[in-house]
Symmetry: C2
DNA sequence: GTGTCGTATGTTATCGCTAACATGTTTTTG
DNA sequence: CAAAAACATGTTAGCGATAACATACGACAC
């Protein structure tokens, strides 16, 4: 009975509550809370005190509607679980933390129809920009992105036509580079191991670049193996075993990602196979994990955090200045020889 | 000149545009787009056609403000990069996909002040519920959560006082269980290896439970080692080497997570150490990665995707019915003996 | 002392949508 | 065939904030 004024209704607080509690207009409260315009030090303190005491949290929904500004950046990626996108996210956050913008993540699981749905949901919140993985999207998705009238950055891939801006590496080129390095090291009987996902366009492009560069030297893939689901490390072991059994004269294994490559490496070491003397190995991505392996797997860095940073920077600058468009940044994947690819 | 009607201004579309294009009121368009109330089949089609043709995407900001409903669930987690939270996320998505609710992720990097900021940001969008990792929060964060008047589920930990609902395991108990299993296997010279993060309360509680259960049998930690930053796998190797050099009579290594445990395991195998004969090993988490290791590391499953599912279910049910509160679900971590802990 | 300026505050009109109610139109029913 | 019920649509009034434009007030110049 004594504290009936302290915890009245469970109605959410509004600017009006703070304004009444501090004896100024709603507008002045709004100004204080946003650090905008001229407010005297005295009222500023009065208002902040009241807001804190009441535990007021502004309603961004109303704010966004009134100001026609939403400080969110939609980030649409296929997966969180493969180590690559978390790192991109880190790069994005790093840059956006310096701005009023905030990333909001949507995950598509490599499914175009999910991408479409996630995109629709996110655009319906009218974000300030979109960062989306890949260049392949459904027509509907592309139409939405074009119609949104906000900066769009497609990341991780530059082999194709971008809607607006693009930041990434050429996976075809990455595949070619790796093929050249492998050929140069003297290998000719080369096997490929990858995922079964036909919708992972970047893996596909790497494979295409790879086979193309081999073909140029008259070499063909000696064997190939694909997996889906399960622990990538374990799958790498299994596939490697299967391939080495089926095609014993193989002298190089190219994996479409580092995780299965690591599994393959562990298998070979277990079996006492001389790496890279008898069989050479290479993966793709440059994940941190590889540092702890008994032998360092050859790989190629996809510049993930750099991609994230560059994409975020484009959105941030464009949001601030309103100028720009169509930026295109192609980063160079760096090959890391490691211990599983012969030098020269 | 000919297509001036097709691409007029770059002004974002509103309900009014669709309403004019289809010759009905805005309200009717709204009803069609939300599948609400009675609309004749004829007008429904007319409206959908117009909306599609124009490429209209509803403005959820306005919708949310008007309806006082926001179908977002704030998910606040410390990190994306350690394999554990992506799996929780998967569980959450699985359940929310069946509902109109949508998860929105915020990352705190284990920093209370960041948690506070992220929470404030998210609450300012007035979500339907909050799923937040851990039971330890700043006073301000707790106050915000209480004042929000929405379902709050604290996940991953049940050792402490929850604000509202809680789903997780007892890390103290997990630590105790592992200690008991290790003692039972006959080990007495036990080393602990973990992260330096004082703010990872769950790791801390596991350690406390662990030492407590050892103490009960008169055993003390023989040596300990902590790391921060870098590749967990590599750090696991380094720390293991350091500890085995410094305290050669150690016969068991307990790692605070599977990744450093895996590093330790690889190191021991490299060195030709008999595992678990000479030295036993155990980690924590039950990450998928372990399946591919040469020997399966003993670990304890934290029921991550189950936690995500249960938490999401609580939010979903409470949002729908408006009833409930204070749910508490303590899951039982299961010990996985693997190949690095002697049986019996 | 009056006019002008600058600072601090208040007022009014949206923002794009939806709840709630009002209105028209058709169908049903006794 | 009138009245009630069922359906289909429209109208009005906010939701909680902010932009843009007042207005009040003291300081200062001349």
């Amino acid at each position: 009975m004594t504290d009936q004024k302290i915890a009245p209704t469970r109605r959410p607080l509004t600017l009006r509550d703070v304004s009444e509690a501090s004896g100024v207009s709603e507008m002045t409260v709004s100004r204080v809370l946003r650090n905008r315009g001229d407010v005297s030090e005295a009222t500023r303190e009065k208002v902040l005190e009241a807001a804190k005491r009441l535990g007021y949290v502004p309603n961004k929904i109303a704010g966004a509607l009134a100001s026609q500004r939403v400080n969110l950046v939609a980030v649409i990626i296929p997966s969180l679980s493969n180590m690559v996108f978390p790192e991109v996210m880190t790069g994005i956050s790093e840059v956006l933390d310096e701005t009023p913008l905030q990333p909001v993540v949507g995950v598509t699981n490599y499914k175009p129809e999910r991408e479409e749905k996630v995109l629709y949901e996110m655009l319906s919140w009218r974000p300030s920009g979109v960062i989306i993985a890949g260049l392949e999207h459904s027509d509907a998705s592309k139409a939405m992105l074009k119609a949104a009238g906000i900066p769009v950055v497609e990341i991780m891939d530059t082999d194709g036509q971008a809607i607006d801006a693009a930041v990434g590496i050429s996976h075809r080129r990455a595949g070619r580079m790796m093929a050249q390095a492998i050929l140069k090291a003297g290998h000719r009987r080369i096997g490929f191991l990858g995922t079964k996902m036909p919708l992972d366009h970047r893996a596909r492009k790497r494979f295409e670049g790879f086979t193309e560069a081999l073909a140029k030297e008259g070499v063909e893939i000696a064997d190939q193996e694909f997996y889906e689901g399960g622990s990538a490390l374990a799958k790498g072991r299994e596939m490697t075993e299967a391939m080495l059994t089926r095609t014993p004269d193989i002298d190089f294994l190219y994996y479409s990602n580092d995780m299965i490559g690591a599994g393959g490496l562990l298998y070979c070491l277990d079996q006492g196979i001389d790496v890279p003397g008898q069989v050479g190995l290479a993966g793709f991505n440059g994940v941190e994990l590889l540092d702890g392996l008994p032998r360092k797997l050859a790989t190629m860095d996809a510049c993930r955090s750099e991609v994230g940073r560059a994409a975020a920077k484009i959105i941030a600058e464009r949001t601030e200045s309103g100028e720009g468009g169509g930026e295109r940044i192609e980063l160079s994947p760096k090959i890391e020889i490691g211990d599983t690819l012969k030098r020269r």
